[in-house]
Structures are given as structure tokens and as C-alpha cells.
């Protein structure tokens, strides 16, 4: 049916469109005009923007440290922002590229060499007074310096160390007729204990692993290679040491612990517990492990979620002829971004947190979350000693801390890539799909390819 064009309706429609357009534009303008950040608590002070990766209960501790700092002086205000770890790197890099980075970025990821190489973070040496430099280089735990240093320059101050030790369910040990008061002192002994603590169901499926390093949370090869006298990097010569007899022995040992139980059996067992490793659901708490290896933060979590759990901790025992107190260690560390607007304030806050300027005061921060301090004098401060006396299971970790055989990730510019490839080959060996020697050969080959690529593209190594 023919309908004549209605000019009146058309004009009304146009007016309505214009009205909607104006409302939309006005809404955007109002949104842009509104304050984009929370109001400052100390607007007269110079801000120090700090990004950190902690969430949930750990964030509360960081907020407490920040509040203590803000109350301790009247020059700066730390504004802390929790940026979850898996997105932190991309957000931080975008902020640096965009010219609006935070002053301090705290991380635990494999970032220091690459960021240092790219000039994304500042060397801290130049910010320190001679006295501070002396204190940091002479008194920090060796592992703290290894983590923060790249090409002989300090780029990060460790704000908390993570070291690993054995966790033993003493109730299970007693049930198995083992003397829980005298934990194993050699690796062979540890394996023998593990065999006695293993439990299987009627289908011969593993329901409790007597001894197993959890594949999902700890890179076992990095942990055990130093104990066998190896490791991925020679700090004296400054070279990678990937495919060595010591590393092969370590990897063969770890593969052997799984082969004994049946690779597939272990894969099923570990996969069944891989999704719930945090807090109260940690499989050690739920009874899935007799002995396992994990970091010191579990002590605090057990105290919180399972205070009556019967357990103990002890350093990872070395193999015959191996090294005691050797293994992998990591940590969280503070860096100052290239383009930071308040470098002086950033350094002052890092000094405050890590206890460079006042160990006794900072020692208290480390008791709030059961963190391991980067300097021995914090560990010896009254507040921390009192904390350890109340939590004697911390001692196993503190005993390991001064060891020169603790190794972090190798300080090479392709650290993240190398770590991923080590993890992939290690996982394949632990699943029985790659022989230990083939796994190490693959890591070496992939590393060589990456180094060649970097050379071809003109990266400095």
C-alpha cells in the first residue's frame, strides 16, 4: 500500500536523533570530568605510586605496611595498587610506554633481566648512599643479591624471600611406625620414608603420595639440581649450565620417584589436586601427601586454616655426596620504573619496607605474613626472633636462607623463555613422555635457538 512520505514524522525523528546524540556526548563529557581516582588521604604530600601483585589476605598486609609508612613521615604518601600477577607485566609495560608508570613495581615474575636490558627499570646502585651500598652488598643474604642483580648492577631490592623445605605429616609418620621426631637426613632416607607413607586404593591408584614434590607449584628440577651439585647457571663464570651430569642425576632422581609409583598414576593423582592448591585446600592439609616440598608461607596458612594439623618442617636432605641447604629460591622484589616521577620517594619506601634503614622496625612487617626477610639482621631482630619462637616450623626455612647454594632463575635476558622451556621439558620428563637426558638435550637446543635468534635480531645478551 502506498504511504506518502511524512515530513513531520521525519523531522521529529531527526530531532530525537540529535537529542540522543547530545545526551551521549554529554554523558561522555561528564564521565571524563569526574575525578578518576580515589581522593587522596594526604593531598599535601608528594605521591609514591606502588603497584604490587598481592590480593586477598596478602594485600591486607601490604596495605598495613603502606599505612605504617604513611604514618611514619609527612613528606610522601604511598598509594598502593594491587595489580594481579598475571596481568601486571602487560599493564606495567603499557604504563611505561605511555609515560605514566608507577614509581615502584613489585613483582615475583621472571622479569628483571629483560626489563633491565630494555631500560624499563632503573639500576638502584646510583640511588644508594655509599653506606647503603655497603650494607646491601655486604650483609644481604646471597640469594637476595642473586635475585636482584643483573650484569653486576642491582635492579631490585628483595622485599621477601621464598625458600622451600620439606613438610612432613607427623601423624602419618607415626601411623607408619616412623620416628617423626627424627626426620630423614639423606635423600635416600627421604625416599624410603615416602615408600612407607604411600597409600593406594583397591584399584592400586595412588591416594596418598608418601613423598612427591608437587609438580604444579614447584619446579622440582630447579629445586634438586643444586642439591646434586648442579643448577642452571654458574654465577662465577656467568654462563648457563643446562645439560650437565649433575642436572641429569637430579632429573633422573625426580623421574624415578614418579616412575616407582607409575607415571600415569602420578599424573592422575597430581591432576586431581592441581586446581586447589591454595589456602585450606592445599593437598598437604587435606592429607594427599605424607611428605612434600613447599614454601614458608604454608606455615602461616596452616596456622590459619588447620591450626591442629600434626606436621613438621625440615630442610630438603641432600643426596649422598650432594650439597645440604641447596636448592631453588625465589622472592618478591621492588623495582623503580623508568620514567618514575618520584624516584627519591620510591627509593625511600623501598628502604623502609626492606629494612635497609631500620631493620628492627621492618622486621615486624615480616612477621605479619610469615615472610622471610632479605637481610640477616631483620631475621635476628627481636620482633622476628619472637615470631620464630612462636612458630618453630619457620626455623627450617631460616636455616636454609644464608646458604650460598640457593639459586634463583638464571640471570639471562631470555629468562622467561628459558624458564618456560625448562618447565615444559621437566613436565614431560615427569610424565614419562621424555627421557631425562632427552629433556635436558631439548632444553639446551631450545636455549641455543633462542640465543641465536637474539643475536640475529641484535639483542645484547
Amino acid at each position: 500500500m502506498y504511504r506518502p512520505f511524512d515530513h513531520e514524522r521525519s523531522a521529529a525523528g531527526t530531532r530525537a536523533l540529535w537529542a540522543i546524540a547530545i545526551v551521549l556526548i554529554a554523558s561522555v563529557a561528564v564521565a571524563l570530568a569526574l575525578p578518576q581516582t580515589m581522593p587522596r588521604r594526604f593531598p599535601d604530600r608528594k605521591p609514591i605510586h606502588v603497584w604490587h601483585p598481592w590480593t586477598a589476605e596478602w594485600k591486607t598486609i601490604v596495605d598495613r605496611i603502606v599505612a605504617t609508612y604513611n604514618a611514619s613521615q609527612d613528606r610522601y604518601e604511598v598509594i598502593a595498587l594491587s595489580v594481579p600477577a598475571h596481568t601486571a607485566a602487560s599493564k606495567f609495560l603499557s604504563s611505561v610506554a605511555g609515560g605514566a608508570p608507577p614509581d615502584v613495581i613489585v613483582s615475583w615474575d621472571a622479569v628483571i633481566p629483560k626489563w633491565a636490558e630494555g631500560g624499563i627499570i632503573m639500576p638502584l646502585d646510583g640511588l644508594m648512599s655509599a653506606e647503603e651500598r655497603e650494607r646491601v652488598t655486604r650483609s644481604a643474604y646471597p640469594i637476595s643479591l642473586k635475585i636482584g642483580t643483573y650484569k653486576s648492577r642491582l635492579y631490585a631490592i628483595v622485599t621477601g624471600l621464598d625458600v622451600y623445605a620439606c613438610y612432613l605429616r607427623t601423624d602419618f609418620a607415626r601411623e607408619a611406625g616412623l620416628d617423626a621426631e627424627r626426620p630423614p637426613e639423606t635423600l635416600d632416607n627421604l625416599v624410603a620414608w615416602g615408600e612407607k607413607l604411600d597409600r593406594f586404593d583397591s584399584n592400586k591408584r595412588l591416594v596418598r603420595a608418601g613423598f612427591l614434590d608437587p609438580l604444579s607449584s614447584v619446579l622440582g628440577l630447579a629445586m634438586f639440581a643444586p642439591a646434586f651439585g648442579g643448577g642452571f647457571y654458574d654465577w662465577d663464570r656467568g654462563v648457563l649450565t643446562l645439560n650437565t651430569p649433575e642436572n641429569l642425576r637430579a632429573l633422573s632422581f625426580l623421574a624415578g620417584t614418579r616412575e616407582r609409583l607409575g607415571f600415569e598414576n602420578v599424573v592422575r593423582f597430581e591432576s586431581g589436586h592441581s586446581g586447589d592448591v591454595a589456602n585450606a585446600a592445599w593437598p598437604f592439609i587435606t592429607g594427599a601427601y605424607g611428605i612434600t616440598i613447599d614454601g614458608q608461607w604454608r606455615v602461616e596458612q596452616i596456622a590459619q586454616y588447620a591450626p591442629d594439623l600434626a606436621y613438621d618442617t625440615f630442610p630438603i636432605p641432600p643426596p649422598v655426596g650432594g650439597r645440604a641447604h641447596a636448592g631453588w629460591a625465589s622472592g618478591n622484589f621492588a623495582m623503580i620504573a623508568k620514567g618514575a616521577k618520584n624516584v627519591e620517594g620510591a627509593w625511600e619506601f623501598i628502604r623502609f619496607w626492606s629494612g635497609i634503614d631500620n631493620p628492627d622496625r621492618a622486621a615486624e612487617f615480616y612477621t605479619w605474613g610469615g615472610w622471610l626477610p632479605p637481610f640477616p639482621d631483620l631475621a635476628e631482630a627481636p620482633a622476628y626472633r619472637e615470631y620464630v619462637e612462636k612458630n618453630p616450623r619457620f626455623k627450617a626455612f631460616l636455616d636454609v636462607l644464608p646458604s650460598e647454594y640457593l639459586q634463583p632463575m638464571p640471570p639471562v635476558s631470555h629468562q622467561a623463555y628459558l624458564w618456560d622451556r625448562i618447565a615444559a621439558a621437566y613436565a614431560a620428563a615427569m610424565r614419562g613422555t621424555l627421557r631425562p637426558d632427552a629433556a635436558l638435550a631439548r632444553i639446551t637446543l631450545e636455549n641455543e635457538r633462542e640465543v641465536a635468534m637474539h643475536k640475529e635480531l641484535g639483542y645484547t645478551e
Binding site: V96, R268, S271, G272, A428, L434, R449
Partner: protein
């Protein structure tokens, strides 16, 4: 003229956003793919080195490409078959059909991250629902996401969770088929299978064509589920192209290399799109 300006005022914000966040980065990434670039430092021209290394010296690149192509070859046809089958079933005029349609569509609007976490639980070999059901039938289910032989397959099955989105499009296509064709076929003595084979499927081919295109493009961009559920493991068995590209860009800071990967991906997707477009005259039937 005045009316034209009103139109431009409306699309202006989108145009500005498109130019800033899509067109410019798109063009810039061509240049970046010939450079060494870590986001913060200035890009340094390296010629075709990124492409050369990718194509000749990077087995992980080829492996990730193979995994992605395999996924496209398996998941796209599978989701099409399941989507069409579901749409045919949900096209039946039975009581409560609207509820069934809603139930099958709802999963596709659940955020991918939530779906991924859900499947981590469902596929848990010890406490997961899937192995729980299998054990009722005496079948010992595998370690779905941790076993190299099953992780990829698990992700393929996971993709069916979102099949409701394409199912709705198939359903709309089915509703668009003229009833007269079926009436004529019935008069001619055609059975149910013959009607499906010779009327429904041919008349549905424009919709199948659309979903095929979208499926291929989506498969080559497959990322989120692999990132959350398997992180590329075990032993690289789910290291999809987009995941490797992401790691190269944001984890290893090789933005130039990642840009080269993105352009190779673009070339592959474009080639496949053109190939499918060229083939469509042979198998896509339009009513007119």
C-alpha cells in the same frame, strides 16, 4: 546535508575509536613486524629476520600452528554438526520447546573465563563430575587436562559448551525455510531423511557458510581457554598459536616477533577465508 552530519555525529565516536585502537595499530604492526621492539625502546629495523626465524628456526611456531590448524579441522566441523543437529531437534513443535531452546542457549552467554574454571572442576580426574559419571559405568576416566593424549581433546569438547550461539543462528535459518517446499516434498512422497537431505540442509547452507567462516576465524584466534585451563601444557600439547603469540609479545617482550606471527596468522586466515568464499558457489544455495 544536515541529516548527514547527524549520522556522522553518531558514528564519530566509533570512527575515532576504530582509527585509534584498530586501524592505527593494525598498520603499525606491519612496520613492527620488521623490527626488534620491546614496547619501551624505539623499534630497530631488522628486515625480514623475524619472518625468517619464525619460518625456519622456530619449531614451537610450527607446533603451535599445527595444533591450531588441527583444532580448526576438528572443532569447527564438530560444532557445526552438533549445532545443526541441536537446531533440528529444537525446531520440533513440542511442549516446552522455548524452555529447551533457552537451556541450550544459556551456556553460550556464560563468560569464557567462568566456563573455563567450571571445566577445570568438571574434568578433575579424581573429584570431577565427568570421571564420576564414567566410573558409574565402570570406565576409569583419564587425567583429562594433564594427560598429553587428552588435553587437546578436552578443549575440543569444551568448545561444544558454547555451541548454543551458532545453534540459534541455525534455528533462525530453519525457520526461514518456506513450508511450501516441505509440503511439495511430502506430496511427492519424500520421507523425513529425504526432506532433511534435499530441502533442509541445502536451504540451510547460507547459514552454515556464515558459521563456517566465523568458526574458522574464531579457531585461529583460540586463546582464552588454553590460557586459563592448560597454559599450553602438558608438554606444549595445547600451545595454541595465539597463546604462543601472546607469550612472545607480553612475556618475552618480542613485540616485533609477535607482530610477524600476527601477520602470518592474518595471511593464513585471509587465505582460508578467500578459499571458502570461492568454494561457496558450489555448495551454498540461496532461495532466489
Amino acid at each position: 546535508m544536515k541529516r548527514g552530519w547527524a549520522g556522522y555525529a553518531f558514528i564519530g565516536p566509533w570512527l575515532a575509536g576504530f582509527a585509534t585502537f584498530t586501524a592505527f595499530p593494525f598498520a603499525a604492526s606491519i612496520w613492527l613486524s620488521f623490527t626488534r621492539y620491546d614496547i619501551v625502546s624505539d623499534p630497530v629495523w631488522v628486515g625480514a629476520a623475524n619472518y625468517n626465524r619464525l619460518l625456519t628456526e622456530d619449531p614451537i611456531f610450527w607446533k603451535s600452528l599445527f595444533i591450531t590448524v588441527k583444532y580448526a579441522l576438528v572443532a569447527v566441523p564438530l560444532s557445526m554438526v552438533v549445532g545443526v543437529a541441536l537446531a533440528l531437534l529444537l525446531n520440533l513443535e513440542i511442549a516446552g520447546i522455548a524452555i529447551y531452546r533457552t537451556l541450550f542457549f544459556i551456556p553460550s552467554i556464560v563468560p569464557v573465563v567462568a566456563t573455563s574454571v567450571l571445566f577445570i572442576w568438571l574434568l578433575n580426574p579424581q573429584t570431577g563430575l565427568v570421571n564420576g559419571v564414567l566410573s558409574e559405568f565402570g570406565v576409569a576416566g583419564p587425567a583429562w587436562l594433564a594427560d598429553k593424549r587428552w588435553a587437546f581433546t578436552s578443549l575440543v569438547f569444551m568448545s561444544l559448551w558454547g555451541v548454543g550461539g551458532s545453534m540459534v543462528i541455525y534455528l533462525a535459518g530453519l525457520k526461514d525455510i518456506p513450508l511450501a517446499l516441505y509440503e511439495a516434498a511430502i506430496i511427492d512422497g519424500a520421507g523425513a531423511w529425504q526432506r532433511t537431505r534435499h530441502i533442509t540442509l541445502p536451504m540451510l547452507t547460507p547459514v552454515i557458510f556464515f558459521n563456517l567462516m566465523m568458526g574458522i576465524i574464531g579457531s585461529f584466534q583460540y586463546f582464552t581457554q588454553a590460557y586459563i585451563v592448560t597454559q599450553g601444557g602438558p608438554d606444549d600439547s595445547t600451545n595454541f598459536y595465539a597463546l604462543y603469540l601472546f607469550n612472545r609479545a607480553w612475556r618475552y617482550l618480542d613485540m616485533g616477533y609477535a607482530s610477524a606471527m600476527a601477520w602470518i596468522l592474518f595471511a593464513i586466515v585471509m587465505t582460508m577465508t578467500i578459499a571458502v568464499f570461492r568454494s561457496h558457489r558450489r555448495w551454498v544455495h540461496y532461495e532466489n
